[in-house]
Structure formats: C-alpha cells, structure tokens
C-alpha cells in the first residue's frame, strides 16, 4: 500500500499536464495541420506561429499592455496595503473589524456585476482604454487580498520588535522603513506575487475597460476567432506564451504559495 502512494500525485500531475501539452503540441503545428490531421505530436514542426506573434505589433503589444498594467497594479496594491495591514495587525480602532470584513466583501464581488458600471464610470472620468484604468480597477480585489496576506505575515512578527525600536529612540517612520520593512521582505514578495497573479489571470474587467491602446494579450487572443476563420495555431501559441510568466515566478514562491491562498492565515 505504502509503496504505491506516489501513484496518486503522479496521476494527478499527468492529468494536469495533458491539456497544457495539447496546447503546446498545437502551437507547433500549422492551422491546416491542426484541422486536417489528428496526431499526438506535430508532424511538420513549425515555429511560424511564434514568429508571427513576436513580429506582429498587434500581438506583442498585447503582452506589453498586460505586463504594464499588472506591474502598475502590483505596486499600487502593495504600497497602499502595507500601512493598512500594519494598522490592522497592531492597533484596535473604531470600526476595524467591520472595515476588515468590508474589504473581504470586495474580493467576493462578482466582476460581472461591476462590468457595466465600471465601463461607464471610467469613461466618465476619461480613463477608458488606459493602463491606469485597468490597474485601478484590479485594486478592487487585489488590495483586499494584499491586506489579508500582509496582515498574516505582520502578525507573525512579535510586537516586541516595535517596542524595542521605540525604546532605542527610533521615530515611527524610521522604524517602519529601516527595520520593519526589511523584516517582512518575504511577506512583501509573496504578496506582490499574488497581486501579479490575480491581475494577470483576470480578463473580464481588463477587457471591458480597454479598446485598442491598452488591450491585454488575453483579449487580443479572441481576435483569432473573428478574422480569417479560426487560426488555431496562433491561438495555441499565444496561449502557451501566457503560461510562461507564471511558470517562472512560481518556482520562487513554491513554499509560500499555500500561505498566500489562505489569505495569510495558515
């Protein structure tokens, strides 16, 4: 019994990898081959789909747009959430528990509910089709997430650290930047990863708030359906490339990923 225990995770991982393999497999085929022949690996191996994506500016600007607003959102979310998480962890103040729950309710709000009002709201303040609009709208769910994760990390730091620093004559802000932030660098890194991730995978709001100038890659992909039939090869290549950023960063946070998903509460 114990000997075959590894089988369960192995079968599960195989199941996870199959659709990804199929996507990769298709990305190295021409669209004609995909439609006309069924094969487990490319018969005529081609890089053409990838070359199209890297040379056609409508394709690669999609990636740049996505990365641009995702990074912007990550910076805003973590910068705003850091002092707030500190306050929630260390102090008791009027309405703190209600505020904490209210923040979580925004993580729960179905984006579909907000799609249309967001479109109207951001149009009326002249931010429609800008990277800032997407970055700000993603704050709706990323700031609550960042506050929750950081609060978990900060609460793990003993309060004695703060008190000792004050006794040593540090002012609050000097303590905060010189001692406190370096202590929780790991927590900040994990939080940034999660903000990055959730902004990267979200599409409904990003698509609603952009038209041309700030269109994310994920929305550009729908283009393959409308023009000249179904360009499945291109679609598969573009899809495969969206997996790359996540696959790289995940290695660095592998041991903390559960803590992030648990909203800092493991």
């Amino acid at each position: 019994m114990k000997k075959y225990k590894w089988l369960i995770p192995s079968i599960y991982i195989l199941f996870l990898m199959l659709p990804i393999y199929w996507l990769l497999n298709m990305s190295f085929k021409t669209t004609t081959e995909i439609i006309n022949t069924y094969s487990l690996w490319p018969q005529k191996f081609t890089f053409e789909n990838y070359i199209t994506i890297f040379t056609d500016s409508t394709w690669y600007t999609g990636y740049l747009n996505s990365i641009y607003y995702v990074v912007m959102n990550t910076v805003i979310s973590v910068a705003a959430a850091l002092p707030a998480a500190y306050a929630f962890s260390r102090y008791r103040f009027l309405g703190d528990k209600h505020l904490f729950f209210w923040l979580l309710t925004n993580r729960m709000a179905p984006p579909a509910v907000f799609a249309l009002p967001f479109f109207q709201f951001y149009s009326s303040i002249n931010l429609f089709d800008t990277h800032v609009a997407v970055a700000l709208s993603h704050c709706l769910f990323n700031i609550p997430l960042a506050v929750w994760i950081l609060e978990g990390f900060i609460s793990a730091v003993p309060k004695e650290l703060d008190e000792t620093a004050y006794v040593d004559g540090y002012s609050f802000w000097r303590f905060f930047f010189r001692i406190f932030i370096p202590t929780i660098t790991a927590g900040i890194g994990i939080t940034m990863f999660f903000c990055f991730m959730f902004s990267w995978v979200e599409l409904l709001l990003a698509k609603t708030l952009t038209a041309v100038a700030a269109k994310p890659i994920a929305a550009t992909m729908t283009r393959t359906v409308s023009t000249s039939g179904y360009e499945l090869g291109l679609l598969a290549a573009a899809g495969s490339l969206t997996i790359v950023p996540g696959a790289i960063v995940i290695y660095f946070v592998r041991n903390y990923i559960a803590k992030g998903f648990a909203l800092g509460r493991v």
Binding site: Y91, F114, P144, T222
Partner: protein
Amino acid sequence: MNKTINQRAWLFVIPVFILVAFNAVVPLMTVVNYAFQETFANNVFTWEGTRWFKQILRSDRFHAALGRQFMFTGVILLIQIPLGIAIALSMPKKGMGVPICLVLMSMPLLIPWNVVGAMWNIFALPEIGFLGHSLNDLGFDYNFTQQIGDAWFTTILMDVWHWTSLVVLLSYAGLQSIQPAYYQAAEIDGASKWAIFRYIELPKMKKVLTIAILLRFMDSFMIYTEPFVLTGGGPGNATAFLSIDLVKMALGQFDLGPAAAMSLIYFFIVLLVCWVFYNLMMRNEEQK
C-alpha cells in the same frame, strides 16, 4: 496578540479605503440606481420602485440560472474538497518530490482564465482535441458543443483541473504543520490509519479547509470567463451560470433595470454565505 487602542491607525487605512471605495462604492451605487429605475434613450429615467426585483425574483430564467449555479458550485465542491485532501495526504513529506509536486500542481492556477477556457476548448473538441477524440475512439458519443450532459461534464472537469490544486496546496500546508510527535504517539497507541486521519490530521486541517471552501465557493459562484470561452453558456442555456446570464442581460439585451436588480440579489447571496464563513474563520482564529 493584544492590540493597542489607537484611533490614529485610521490614517494608515485611509489610502486603502479610498482606493477600494473608489472602485466599489461608485459602481455599486450606479447599479443600485439602475435597479430602481427605467431607462430610455437620452438618459431619461423614471422611478420604478421594486418592480425589477419582483420581476427577477419571479422569473423562471433567474430561477433556472440560480439553480444551475448552485448545482455547479455544489458538484465542484463535492469533488474538489475530498480529492484535494486525498492528494495532499499522499504527497511526499520531504525530499526532491516536494518542490516538483508544488510547482507542477500550481501551474493551472497561473494561467489566464480565458486561456484555460480556450485550452479546454481545443482539448475537448471531438475532431481535433485529445479528450474528445479519445472518448469518441472509446465508443462514447461525446460532443460538448451539442449535448447538454457532455457540456456539463467538460465544464466540471475543467474546473476540477483548474482549481483542485488550490485545495491540495492548502491541505498540504495544514498537514505540514503537524508535529511528528503526534504521529509517534498515535503509533504507540496503535491507532488505525482512519483514526489518525480523523483525530489528528482532519482537526489540524480544519482552518485551512474552511478557507479552501470559502474561496472555492466564492470563485465558483462568480465564474464567468472559463465557461464563457469553453461553451459560451450553451448548448442553449445549459451552462449559462449566473454571471453569464447577467452579462447577457446587461450587455447583450441592455435590460439595465432587471440586470441591476439581478446583480444586487446575486451579490447579496454571495455576501450572505461569505459572512457565515467569515465568522466561522474568525472563531477558529480566536481559539488558536
């Protein structure tokens, strides 16, 4: 941790409050505004009171969408939670296998949601997809774009593929926090495998499992992109979950009043369930 009372802490919270309120309050008020009025061209609004709410709460379309939504959420929770626990229990506890498992299992979580939909679409298509082709070779008459049962099967399988890892990761983190001494004590007592699971492992996982259920409920209840790309809500309306139906109503037919009323009812249901979970979670935390 004992906290100091400090009202000036509000100053720290203000940036977060402003940024979230900017995104949450104005759009939410817009929705509330639509929910009670009828709109015509040229921005003419007339007061409609609770008419839209009554209409939505009585409409068969809403009942059907809500029914499908609860069915979907129920099924994926019933599959993902036990499956996630089972996989976490059989994962290696140390050594080279741990990082490999963690990295590979996290992969689906980082793929943009519409890519997940598109990936499963080409994976399951009967002519060109591995899943569709293999199932048809095995003698099943499988076509998820035409048959309701197949569409459900594919949507659920996709969600299991996409999110079971979340439950695995959380359960695994819970298991890792168990001291070896507990297992040694159980061995001395001659406890059975089931007893170890029931009285040591499960209680230790209680907290992370609450969070896993909360997250899975929330996210599956607002699922939109993946089924939209995979099946487009079809065949017919068979996989049109609440979000898909809502967007259809608001952007497709431009029935803003009923759509807004539906949004509020929808949001209220999510809020209610999450409030219950939040209190459970906080009670767990205080016991710590």
